[in-house]
Symmetry: C2
Subunit: 246 residues, 2 copies
């Protein structure tokens, strides 16, 4: 344990990425109080001093400290004890490691950014460039702008001179999408000093829940079925089937 503790300290100083598999218990205090009894987990400390505790199942870390935390390594009663604190966030974590299955660390370099296509913003852009997806008489004026009226996805008008506000959802629109749209419509009407009947609110999404549709129509808004951008499908979904899928 002493030698592993020493390695962890060295690796922290060098901003290496650290991986430890072992038995541990975890206590956290900060935005909540949390305790996790002993079990076998994977511990990961990143170059930015984020500290993740992963159980063998589940997508998310079960405990963590965010970036820019500080860590203190000690050996106490034969266990490695990692105390972490983030004074800015006022949170604290203690991990008592009672058994180590393996330890590894390595300085990793990665300046790459991910490129993503098919987000809600892409959907707004598609509608802005193809207004006929909404209706024949829709004329977009601005898109995804943080205007003084708010964070409206697509903003425009129709032939009758009504203002049109579109809220896009990439998947299924729900109640909160409707209240979001309603908030924008009311804000615009107030800001421009015009009646609510001169502002059309539209939700553009592939689907909408029944309750959301009801509320939408109760408030005089409407739903237009729009699929998110098909994206460039450069990735082969007909994956090779040599070998076995495990």
């Amino acid at each position: 344990m002493e030698s592993i503790a020493a390695k962890i300290k060295e690796a922290l100083k060098r901003n290496e990425t650290i991986v430890i598999a072992g038995e541990c218990e975890v206590n956290y205090s900060g935005r909540v109080e949390a305790e996790l009894p002993i079990g076998e987990r994977l511990l990961l400390i990143k170059a930015d001093k984020a500290f993740l505790v992963h159980q063998p199942e589940g997508h998310q870390p079960i405990n963590y400290m965010r970036s820019e935390s500080k860590h203190q390594i000690n050996v106490e009663e034969g266990n490695i004890v990692i105390r972490s604190q983030n004074l800015a966030n006022k949170d604290f974590m203690k991990v008592i490691i009672k058994k180590v299955h393996f330890y590894q660390s390595k300085k990793l370099e990665d300046g790459q950014k991910i490129r993503v296509v098919g987000t809600e913003k892409d959907m707004s852009e598609m509608i802005y460039k193809n207004p006929e997806l909404i209706s024949k008489d829709f004329k977009p004026l601005s898109m995804e702008e943080h205007t003084k009226y708010g964070f409206i996805d697509v903003f425009g008008h129709d032939k009758e001179g009504n203002i049109v506000i579109i809220e896009c959802k990439r998947f299924r629109a729900d109640l909160s999408a409707v209240t979001q749209l309603r908030r924008y419509v009311e804000k615009i009407a107030t800001a421009k000093g015009i009646g609510l009947e001169k502002v059309r609110g539209i939700i553009a999404a592939p689907k909408i829940t029944a309750n959301a549709k009801q509320m939408l129509e109760d408030w005089g808004y409407s739903f237009v079925a729009v699929n998110p951008p098909a994206s460039y499908e450069k990735y082969d979904k007909n994956q090779k089937t040599l070998g076995n899928w495990e």
Copy 2:
């Protein structure tokens, strides 16, 4: 590469937790299309077949496949290629590993659940048991119930016979908290066939944003400052300072 690929296959069959540090590029296709050029990362495959790609910085995995995915390991042109698919979610990922810094795998056992104190539910409970935190004449009737009126945090009435609806936020209440409250108030008023003036809407939170407060008051609702439960502070925040914080 061949031997590491063989180890990965074996570890997958045994539901081990797998860790690989190395250089890779990643492509994902599913809910969006994403590509991540080559860089040094940590790859983690869990017992439930979730597959996380972590960059050396940042809390979240930069790419991932969710639980119950299937993985196929091949060696192609000297690289390890992991193809993953999740037919239920219709998503696909390909990771091309061009260099391996280290590989480890281990069967991990952990049936423990985390215990958390200080959530929004705890805050609702505190208000339910201590209604004077809201006002002298507030009488709670139900708490955190999925009533037919919706998921209202605390529900009750006052001496004047008004219905009182409380929406709790653990941190700072924002615009969406106000629209959420408004939705509940309107739903109750409609369901009971009473006027909006007979339903009081209250946001209970430690703080509220200026815009949210404005909207709240515009709609005739009110804000009551309530701190989330102090929780049991069993964890020593005056952490030992032996050794160095890194």
